[in-house]
């Protein structure tokens, strides 16, 4: 009984330990980088932010599930997502409220919700990471997504399994953009060409950058930049510049409907989509691509205006994803 009393006492003590925050942010992007931005916002405004993070190692179920489960009694004020499709799905479940986004005026319209529920910023591109020691001849290097199906590269290419994350978004966008028949031909072609299906984009980066294994593969620019920073002989190919273009997937930010600190949430969201934060994210290890046309970025970050970005509809992609997910699970989940 004494133990029980001691534990109950400790629990009551713990209950009083919760810090009073002026803002609750749910953040699905790299904690190491986003923490710097959160601290900067705190310094500027004096608003204490309680941030809750996720991990892609667990399929990013944490924050999305929490936002859905908490919808009747919201705890979060802002959702900063590292991609766009889950944001659109949550919008469909009426989790977000409308905002006018004054600091995002010059971000391209295709990355903004027409209804004002979310804004895209600081993007990642779906690029081909190429090991320049495994493919030494520049003329022999891939330049298109279809090269993953080319017999020249049989057994030499890699891609993450399209069951979660940006690879799932990418494949769903292909279904929505190219049509289902052509997208299926791409998946079948990759299988026939013995493409190495890895656990994640990071795993693709590691296996391409390493001494053995595939010579190139689809990954995100942030993963490519990890390999570059670590000194591996890799280069990024922005695929299909003569075709549909390179898929670009932005971070997104949205205000949670009924969140406890609406005014501070607005300030934080405006801060996030500002040019200044895009510049910080571009200079960070994840090397995000700014969507503000005049944002400065280091040399390793290719400006958004310097390559052809694929025209894809995130809303249609989100709808397509729900439809094709069982098929993808059947193809890759067994």
């Amino acid at each position: 009984m004494r133990t029980i009393h001691a534990v109950l006492g400790a629990l009551l003590l713990l209950a009083s330990c919760g810090k009073e925050a002026g803002l609750v942010a749910y953040i699905a992007t790299d904690q190491h980088t986003s923490e710097r931005i959160v601290r900067l916002f705190e310094q500027r405004t004096g608003i204490k932010v309680r941030a809750r993070y996720d991990t892609e190692a667990n399929k990013t179920v944490g924050l999305v599930t929490a936002l859905v489960e908490e919808a009747d009694n919201p705890r979060a004020d802002v959702f900063w997502n590292n991609e766009i499709v889950h944001t659109i799905r949550l919008m469909g479940q009426h989790v977000f409220r409308v905002h006018d986004w004054p600091t995002a005026a010059d971000i391209p319209d295709r990355y903004k919700c027409p209804g004002g529920h979310y804004v895209g910023f600081a993007a990642r591109a779906r690029i081909l990471i190429v090991n320049t020691e495994k493919l030494k001849d520049p003329g022999e290097r891939p330049s298109s997504m279809w090269d993953l199906c080319d017999p020249r590269f049989k057994g030499k290419a890699a891609m993450a399994r399209p069951l979660t994350g940006t690879t799932l978004t990418h494949v769903a966008a292909l279904y929505a953009t190219l049509g289902e028949e052509k997208a299926r031909a791409f998946l079948d072609g990759m299988k026939k060409n013995e493409v190495y299906f890895a656990k994640s984009n990071g795993a693709v980066m590691r296996i391409v950058a390493g001494k053995d294994g595939p010579a190139f593969g689809f990954t995100d620019t942030d993963d490519f930049n990890v390999a570059r920073r670590k000194g591996f002989p890799v280069l990024a190919v922005y695929p299909d510049q003569d075709g549909i273009g390179t898929f670009v997937i932005p971070n997104t930010v949205a205000l949670v409907k009924g969140g406890p600190h609406p005014e501070n949430a607005r300030k934080f969201a405006d801060f996030l989509v500002s040019r200044e934060v895009e510049e910080i994210l571009a200079a960070s290890p994840s090397a995000q691509i700014p969507l503000h046309p005049d944002a400065k970025a280091p040399d390793q970050v290719r400006p958004f205006s310097s390559f052809k970005a694929a025209e894809w509809d995130p809303v249609k992609t989100a709808e397509t994803m729900d439809r094709i997910l069982p098929e993808l699970r059947k193809r890759f989940g067994r």
């Binding site: 001691a6 534990v7 190491h32 809750r52 489960e69 013995e194 990071g202 591996f232 989940g333």
Partner: protein, 534 residues
């Protein structure tokens, strides 16, 4: 002459049961009930879709096969190591036994990542072996406990009367329930793991398991009460039934395992000379500590030293990585260790009255009911907590974002281990001890404090250590429960995912050190590996 005292109401049991019901039984029951009413009206649509596709059926079969293979490996490695270190004159046995137990310190995914750096092997055998290594400490601890509980006089009598082979068979029969209980625990933990199978699944060597299918369903959840949400809840039922069935047998095995008596004449089993087998068995005994402790520690240290970059490793880089973790992440580390400690205390505080009621008050259903949190997937338990503690009219709302939710969640998750271990410990003490106290006129509290608590203290410490270590490893609850968000297991996954293996390696080693500290202290104090976790 003193009159007979009126028995006290079992307040400890009542309070513990109430808390357990509030934390686990009610929220989970409500979730399952809700799944029969998708979109507000009664329907079995969600339940009709259970195992509806060939992929799901195959994944369940994969789970079963993986569970069996990993369990077999774990028994061979774990029980084998326990036997070698407890029963024989194996060189270095005093170190090898505890080293095998320390394999529990690293989360299975860290062991998997360390192994993946060394070998390109994929598929079922690798997944089964690594999961076996991570969970073999259950087999070590329980087998050691079983061997320790057998009175050496019986063994020697059998040896004299029936010969070596029959004596060994008798011994095996006596220890079998403990070995079986350890094996079944391994099976349950392997069934719920999805990270390691996914990590080693590529190309043709895929080994997707059912727990991953459950997780994928929650990656695109519907609102509570919707058909999609109901389907996600219902999809966990096959795994729940399978785990429940296994835990039931585990319970039976633990009950049969009550062979020991605490008497002053008790004599431990005699040690056997290995003779020419000393060398080969020494190598065998090294396998588990090498794979589960030395390999991850070495790889994580190399990560910290910059081995994942193309610039080579250096001591300066390693020191810098450790310094960064200590400077930047020490608040999270401290909070993690603190919350895991409190969760361990909660497991002891709730587990003891429940185990007591089950064993001493003859309420075996309490022990069976107590297994529920381990039978459901961690994510489902987490969501049940979110729904119950964040409901608009819930009295627990005020505690939702406080560490209390985290302690309650983790405590509930690992409560079954506490109940099982403490119930087993209680069965080992003869009722005559308590009867002597009653005859002497001591009240319940006095008997409990003077007789039972000293006898139970080693088991309570072991339960606390086990819950503490498992709390540090838990990832599913860490991504769902808001205050658990600072737990280092989640942070570690995030850091490694975003390519910061140098910091991740240093953090994993420090986490392992933090997890191992109480276990090491316990082993140093008692000098017995088996006792430290059984």
């Amino acid at each position: 002459m003193r009159g007979r005292r009126k028995p006290l109401p079992p307040w400890g049991t009542i309070i513990s049961l109430a808390l357990f019901g509030l934390c686990a039984v009610l929220p989970l029951s409500w979730m399952f009930l809700e799944s029969f009413f998708p979109d507000g009206s009664f329907g079995l649509d969600a339940w009709r879709n259970i195992l509806a596709t060939e992929t799901e059926r195959l994944q369940l079969l994969h789970s079963l096969i993986l569970g069996l293979c990993a369990t077999l490996f774990a028994v061979l490695l774990g029980s084998g190591l326990a036997w070698a270190t407890f029963r024989t004159d194996l060189p270095g046995r005093r170190l090898l036994g505890p080293a095998g137990l320390l394999c529990l310190l690293y989360p299975p995914i860290v062991t998997a990542m360390a192994f993946a750096d060394l070998s390109s092997a994929k598929g079922l055998p690798v997944v089964a072996l690594l999961l076996a290594v991570s969970h073999a400490p259950f087999c070590i601890a329980l087998t050691a406990r079983g061997l320790r509980s057998v009175d050496g006089r019986y063994y020697e009598a059998a040896l004299l009367a029936r010969g070596r082979l029959r004596a060994e068979l008798l011994l095996l029969r006596a220890v079998l329930p403990d070995i079986l209980a350890g094996a079944l625990l391994v099976f349950v933990f392997v069934l719920s793991n999805h990270g390691v199978p996914e990590f080693f699944s590529v190309k043709q060597k895929t080994w997707f398991v059912y727990s991953e299918a459950i997780f994928l369903r929650w990656s695109a959840p519907g609102k509570p009460g919707s058909l999609r949400s109901a389907e996600a809840v219902a999809s966990s039922v096959p795994l729940l039934l399978l785990t429940g069935l296994v835990l039931y047998f585990c319970l039976k095995a633990r009950r049969r395992g009550a062979l020991v008596t605490v008497t002053s004449e008790f004599r431990p089993l005699p040690s056997r000379s290995l003779g020419i087998w000393k060398g080969p068995l020494f190598v065998f005994a090294l396998v588990l500590p090498a794979l589960g402790l030395a390999l991850p520690t070495l790889r994580m240290c190399l990560w910290a030293a910059g081995s994942t970059a193309n610039f080579g490793v250096s001591l300066e880089k390693a020191l810098d990585s450790f310094r960064r973790v200590l400077v930047e992440l020490s608040p999270d580390l401290g909070k993690t260790l603190g919350l895991a400690s409190l969760a361990g205390l909660l497991v002891c505080a709730l587990g003891l009255p429940l185990a007591w009621a089950s064993v001493r008050r003859k309420r075996p259903w309490i022990e069976a009911l107590g297994l529920l949190p381990m039978a459901v997937p961690g994510i489902l338990l987490g969501i049940a907590f979110v729904r119950a503690w964040n409901a608009p009219h819930s009295p627990l709302r005020a505690l939702y974002e406080t560490p209390v939710l985290c302690v309650a969640g983790y405590g509930t998750r690992f409560l079954p281990l506490g109940i099982l271990a403490l119930a087993n410990a209680l069965r080992r003490f003869p009722a005559s001890f308590d009867e002597a106290g009653v005859l002497a006129g001591a009240g319940f509290l006095r008997r409990f404090a003077r007789i039972h608590l000293p006898l139970l203290l080693p088991s309570l410490v072991s339960v606390w250590i086990l819950a503490y270590i498992l709390g540090l490893r838990e990832l599913d609850l860490a991504v769902i429960l808001p205050p658990a968000n600072d737990m280092v297991a989640r942070r570690l996954a995030n850091i490694v995912h975003f390519g910061n293996e140098d910091v991740g390696g240093a953090l994993a080693v420090l986490l392992c050190f933090g997890a191992g500290l109480p276990l090491l202290l316990r082993i140093l104090l008692t000098g017995r590996a088996g006792e430290a976790a059984s």
